[in-house]
Symmetry: C2
Subunit: 284 residues, 2 copies
C-alpha cells in the first residue's frame, strides 16, 4: 500500500476508512497526536515521539490503552505495510467514543488510536523559507500537542495566501513559534529560542537541532526573542519533525538572516546526517 489509515485495528486507505460519529474528536477536538518521519522502515526517534504522546495525553487526562512497547509495535507493523522509502508517520489518541457530553466519559470507555502513514518527499533544505507573521491568540496549552489546531490552521492559511512557507506567531512583540514548527534565531554566534513553557510545543526536531549546534560549538540560550530580534538576526531557523531544519531568507516580505551560510550548512548537514545514520540510509 502507498497510504494507510488505521483506527483501533481497522486498516484501509485514508479515503475509504470511516470512524464513529461519536468519537469525541468530532465534537471537542478531544485528543493528542504526534508525528515523525520514517525511512527504510525505521521510524525516526520513535521513543521520543511516543514519550511525548504519552506526556501530552497525561497532561489532559487521556489514558492510552496500550503500553509504550505495544504502541511502538503497532506503529512499526503499520509502517511495514507501506512500500514507500520515505514516510510521515502520524498517530493520535482521542478520548473515546461516547454520547456528546463535555465531561470525560467513564473509565470503561477506552481511548481510540488513529494512525496514518503517507509518502514523504523531503524539501530541498538549501532553499530558504519565506515567513509571514500573525498575532498568537492560542490557548495556554501549547505545550500539549492537542487536536485543537484551529489557530494553526488559520496561520497556515495566512502563509499560503501570503505566498510563504510558514507563519511566525508572536504575542505582542515576543516570538513564540510557528504554525507547525519551532523558530529559533542565530545572533552573534548564539542560538536564541523561546523557553519550553505553555506558549510553545517542546519540539523534538528543535532539540536535535540544538544537539547539532552544541556539537558544532554553538551555544543555545533558551531566552525568548522579539520580532525585531528576528528581523535583525544573522540566521532564522525553522525546525519541525517533518522538515528537520530549514532556514529563512524573508520575513513579512523583507530580507532576513542569511549572514552565515557556512554555519547554516554545517548545522543542516549534522541534523540530516543524524537522520541518515538512524535510519541506515545514504541519502534523502
Amino acid at each position: 500500500m502507498e497510504r494507510i489509515a488505521y483506527y483501533n485495528g481497522k486498516i484501509d486507505t485514508p479515503e475509504n476508512l470511516t470512524v464513529p460519529f461519536l468519537d469525541r474528536v468530532c465534537f471537542f477536538g478531544d485528543g493528542v497526536y504526534d508525528a515523525t518521519a520514517s525511512s527504510n522502515g525505521v521510524i525516526y526517534l520513535l521513543d521520543e515521539h511516543v514519550d511525548r504522546l504519552y506526556n501530552s495525553a497525561g497532561l489532559i487526562g487521556i489514558k492510552i490503552p496500550y503500553t509504550k512497547d505495544e504502541l511502538k509495535a503497532i506503529l512499526n507493523d503499520v509502517v511495514s505495510r507501506v512500500d514507500n522509502k520515505h514516510n510521515i508517520v502520524y498517530f493520535q489518541v482521542t478520548r473515546g467514543t461516547a454520547p456528546r457530553n463535555h465531561a470525560f466519559p467513564g473509565d470503561d470507555v477506552p481511548a481510540n488510536l488513529w494512525i496514518m502513514v503517507n509518502p514523504k518527499q523531503f524539501r530541498d533544505f538549501s532553499v530558504p523559507m519565506k515567513l509571514t507573521s500573525m498575532e498568537d491568540k492560542r490557548f495556554l496549552y501549547c505545550n500539549v500537542k492537542t487536536l485543537n489546531l484551529l489557530p494553526s490552521v488559520l496561520a497556515a492559511q495566512k502563509a499560503e495566501v501570503d505566498g510563504c512557507d510558514e507563519t511566525v506567531f508572536h504575542r505582542g512583540n515576543i516570538v513564540t513559534e510557528c504554525a507547525h514548527s519551532n523558530v529559533s534565531i542565530l545572533k552573534d554566534g548564539i542560538i536564541y529560542t523561546h523557553p519550553n513553557d505553555e506558549y510553545i510545543l517542546p519540539g523534538i526536531a528543535k532539540n536535535h537541532f540544538f544537539i547539532a549546534c552544541n556539537k558544532l560549538g554553538i551555544p543555545v540560550s533558551q531566552t525568548a526573542f522579539t520580532l525585531d530580534d528576528l528581523r535583525n538576526a544573522d540566521e532564522v531557523f525553522v525546525t519541525s519533525s517533518s522538515n528537520f531544519c530549514s532556514f529563512a531568507d524573508t520575513f513579512e516580505g523583507k530580507p532576513v538572516g542569511c549572514k552565515t551560510p557556512e554555519t547554516v550548512k554545517a548545522i543542516q548537514d549534522a541534523v540530516i546526517q543524524e537522520y541518515l545514520n538512524y535510519c541506515g540510509i545514504d541519502s534523502l
Copy 2:
C-alpha cells in the same frame, strides 16, 4: 426514531453512523457548531442560531454550502423524524474532507454538515446550581463557537470532580463565562455581564435573559466583573441554550447569591414563558 445523527444527508442512530477519517474535524477540530432546544417539533430561535452558525463559520473562513433557508429546512426535516416532545438540536459544519494539511483545502472541497437530535429533559430551574472555578487559559477566538473545545472539556470535568454543575472561567480576577454557559450577576438591582468580545461567546440564551430582565425593569450593564463581585453578588445567573436561565447558590464550596428569590423566579418565569409561547406548548 428517538436519536438521530445526520452527516451530509446520511441518517442513522448516533451510535451507528460513521464519518470519513479525513474529515478535517478529526485532525484540527476544524469546524463550528450551534445548538438549541426544540419542543413540539418547533426549533427554538432557529433564525438566531442559524445566523450565529453562519457568523462563526465566516469568522474562520468556512463557506457553508447551503443558504440559511436550505439549512433551516434540513434541520426542520431532521427534527420532524424524532418522536420525543423535547429535544436538543445540535448542528455543526466542518471544513471539508481532504488529506491532512493545515491550510484550507481548495474551494472545490465543500464543508460537511453534521446534525444530531437527542431527547431533552429540562432541569428543575428552581434547584440552584453549584459552581466551581478554573483559570481561563482559552484562545482569543471564544466569540467563535468552534469545535476546539478541549479547555471546556477540562473545565466540565473539574465541575464533575468537584460535584458541581458548572465551572466559572476567570482570567486572573476577571470572570469571563462558564465551560458551556454564560454567567451574569445581579447586584443592587443591576445585572452585570462580561461584554461580548473575543473572551466570551455571544450567548443567545443570555440575550433573551437580558430581554426578560429589561421587561421586568432590571437594567443590564455589559461590564466585566471580578471573582469577588461574584462572591458578593445578590444573585448569580447561568444561562445557556440548553438550560435557559439557572441561578447558583454555591461557588467554590461557599454560599453565593440567593438574596432576591422573587426576582429570580420572575426572570425565570419570563424566560420559560417565552419558550412555551414560541413552541406552542403549555409546560416543560
